[in-house]
Assembly symmetry: C2
Homo-oligomer: 222 residues x 2
C-alpha cells in the first residue's frame, strides 16, 4: 500500500513535469536543475557561473529551493536577475522540489525575458533525484571533501544526472581526495555522465560548464 501511495505521488509529478516542459518549449526557455548534498557549493557556483552566462549573451533567471531562509536567494541578489524563492517549510519542509512547485516558480518570475533558468534544488543527495522537475538537464555537484564513494552509495542521483561537477577541486590535495577513483566511481554508476572538475573559488572549469549550457540552449531553443 505504501508503494501505491508513492507511485501516485510520482505519477502526479509526471503530469506537472510535462506542463513545465510544455511551458519551456512555448517560451523557448531552458531549465537546468542543480542538485547536491548541503554544502557542496551550489549557490557559490551559481554566483560565479551566472556572470559568465550573461557575458555569453544569455538572459538568466534563478529558482532557489530551500527548506527555510532566503539566504541563498539573498546571495544572488547582486547579480540583478529574476529570482524566485521557494521555501518548502511552508508545505511540510519537503526534501525536494516537485514539478508543480517549479511550475509555480516559473510563473512567478515570468515578466523579464529569460533564456535560461537555473534551478537550485534542496540540498539532498537522495530525494530530489526521484522527482522529475521538467528540466532539460540535471546537474549533480559533488565536492571533493565528501569522499570518493558517494556515487556508488547514492546511485540514483548520479544515474538521473547528465552532468557531474566535481566541485571544490582546489581542495583535492589538502583533503587527499583520489579524483581518478572518484571519476571511475561516477562512470561505473552512469557511463554517459559528462564530468567537469570545477572550483567556484578559482573559477576552474566554469567556462566549460557555461559553454555546455549555451550549447544546450542553442540546440533546444536557439
Amino acid at each position: 500500500m505504501d508503494i501505491k501511495v508513492v507511485r501516485n505521488v510520482l505519477e502526479e509529478n509526471q503530469v506537472s513535469a510535462q506542463k513545465v516542459r510544455d511551458r519551456l518549449r512555448e517560451r523557448r526557455q531552458t531549465l537546468v536543475n542543480f542538485m547536491s548534498s548541503p554544502g557542496s557549493g551550489k549557490t557559490r557556483l551559481l554566483e560565479t557561473l551566472i556572470p559568465i552566462l550573461k557575458e555569453r549573451g544569455l538572459r538568466v533567471g534563478v529558482i532557489e529551493g530551500d527548506i527555510a531562509t532566503a539566504r541563498d536567494a539573498d546571495r544572488l541578489k547582486h547579480l540583478d536577475i529574476p529570482i524566485a524563492l521557494i521555501n518548502t517549510e511552508f508545505f511540510g519542509g519537503e526534501c525536494h522540489l516537485a514539478a508543480n512547485v517549479v511550475l509555480g516558480a516559473l510563473e512567478a518570475i515570468d515578466g523579464p525575458p529569460m533564456d535560461l533558468c537555473l534551478l537550485e534544488n534542496v540540498g539532498n543527495l537522495v530525494c530530489p533525484a526521484e522527482f522529475d522537475t521538467g528540466s532539460d538537464l540535471n546537474v549533480v555537484l559533488l565536492s571533493v571533501t565528501e569522499g570518493e564513494d558517494k556515487p556508488v552509495k547514492y546511485p540514483l542521483m548520479f544515474r538521473n544526472s547528465h552532468l557531474a561537477l566535481v566541485n571544490k577541486i582546489d581542495l583535492a590535495e589538502v583533503v587527499e581526495a583520489d579524483v581518478p577513483l572518484l571519476r571511475r566511481n561516477l562512470q561505473q554508476v552512469n557511463p554517459s555522465l559528462e564530468i567537469f572538475e570545477t572550483s567556484a573559488k578559482t573559477g576552474l572549469g566554469l567556462a566549460e560548464v557555461a559553454d555546455r549550457l549555451c550549447r544546450l540552449h542553442d540546440a533546444k531553443r536557439g
Copy 2:
C-alpha cells in the same frame, strides 16, 4: 490528503520507536543515532570513536544504514564488533531509517552482549530528522566544509538533535570556516544543543564525545 498519509506513516513509526525503546530498556542497552549529510565523516568518526569506547569498557555494536553498498560496514569490520547492515534500496531506496527497520536490525545483531549501539543513519540532512528511531540520543555531524549557514537552512535536524559535532575541524583554516559563526547559528536554532569540535583525522574532541556517551549509558542503564 497528502498530509494525512504522512501523518499515518509518522504515527506508525512512533509505535515502532516505542518498541525500540522498550527493547533497549529491557536489555539495558543505549542507542545513539548519528545523522548528517553524505560525506560529513560519520563512518570515519565511528572508526576512531569505537576503540575509545571499548577502552572505556563498553561493549559496542553498530547498525549501518545505507541506500546501497556495504562499504561503510566493510570499513568497520576490522573493529571486531557486531554490525547490522541495512540497505534501504531493497525497500524503495528510502532516504532515512524508520524505527521498524531499526528494530529489525537490533534483533539481527542480538547475541553477543552489547551496551551501546551506534546507528549510522542514511546520509541526508533532511528526512532522517523526521523519523524517531527510538534512540536515546541524536547526534548530528556537520563538517566545516559545508558552510556556516546549514543549521538555519536545515533547522529540523538541528532542533531534533542533542549533540552537534562540528567535524573535520582540522580543515577549518584551509576552507576559511567561521567556526564562531557556525556555533552561533547552531545555538540560534537549538539553544540546548551540546556542541563538540571534532576531527576523526587528528582525534580531537573524540575523548570528550566518548565520555559523554559513557555518562549517558551509565545514567540510563548503568
